[in-house]
Symmetry: C2
Subunit: 175 residues, 2 copies
DNA sequence: GGAAGCTACATGACATGTCACCCAATTCGG
DNA sequence: CCGAATTGGGTGACATGTCATGTAGCTTCC
């Protein structure tokens, strides 16, 4: 127990950085939700799910893996997939390797919805995020975010995404 | 996986930066929620509201101003304040200047809850965000985030928050 | 091989957020 | 001053997210 570490204080610079982060995150979330909803009839969570699936081989992913990747509760994912499958965007199909597991699979309609929504979303991201950013700061921003990401993975409560969890610690970090 | 590079959207570097941002935001939100909930019996939205009020003169703020500051829908704020006031954390009081307006006012209990919750939250932020960050990158990160914030304010759909551009959801230095 | 315990999910009750629409006070144009 | 338009806010129905719990398949170990 170090005498001082009990009451952690952020430096003024850190505080301002943190406030800026929170402000950006709140407003950006709002704008993304709004744009997706009105232009593509998708919520941001819908979009995240579609993206994660489209990025996976065969457009399919086991629920636990998908939940970890999205940092969602599994029950949330379960409910959400039920609603998305009711809309025809995804399907549930039993896993080939584990009979208690379920895979979420992107349907053609889901892929089409994603394809239709992506340009508008990317455009928004460019306009809201990158157009106001000094290009000289981009590499530093990227590195900083990747460092924070690694930190959250290492010290956070969520398992590391990607492959099976529960492996021995000491694996090299990856971006 | 991007055969039609005809879309003039994001450069590869921008894409990776964006993905890193989204990953950080998802996991960080999860961790903050979890920590506040288990340690202080507050949700992150609760905490944001308390912080915004505590940062305002008299611990009071008109609903529209508060909603704008938090990037919330007004009806959401209305419902949320109803629940928070049922828990004794805030009160509603009619505005002095405009008889249709309502102010949200921090109660003593609300201020106490905030004071109790802040150190743990700050500790989490330090551990998850800043401890893994190369200090040399901090200034660039801060500037980048401030540029993005300005961009979202300028080109976003939300009105610019009130002049007292004080702190947003976050934490106070605490003495 | 079979009970104990873990893991993968589903589900129902309940908390939270959104949308459409409501009313009252204020403002504005005659 | 009168009435329409605007602004500040509340509300109820419904969409979404969380928590506690239930069930089935896998795994371990004797």
């Amino acid at each position: 127990m170090s005498p001082n570490s009990g009451s952690p204080v952020l430096t003024p610079d850190q505080q301002e950085t943190w406030f800026a982060y929170m402000r950006v995150m709140l407003r950006l979330s709002h704008e993304m939700n709004r744009q997706l909803q009105t232009d593509s009839d998708l919520s941001l969570p819908d979009f995240d799910v579609l993206n994660a699936l489209a990025d996976s081989p065969g457009g399919r992913l086991q629920l636990t893996g998908l939940a970890t990747r999205l940092a969602w509760e599994r029950s949330r994912l379960s409910h959400h997939l039920q609603r998305m499958s009711a809309r025809g965007l995804v399907e549930r199909s039993p896993s080939a390797t584990d009979r208690r597991a379920t895979d979420a699979v992107l349907t053609d309609a889901g892929r089409a919805a994603l394809t239709a929504a992506t340009p508008g979303h990317a455009e928004l991201v460019r306009r809201m995020f990158f157009d106001g950013l000094d290009p000289a700061l981009l590499p530093a921003l990227r590195t900083a975010l990747e460092q924070v990401h690694e930190q959250v993975l290492t010290h956070g409560t969520l398992p590391r995404p990607g492959r099976p969890q529960g492996r021995l610690p000491g694996l090299e970090p990856e971006a």
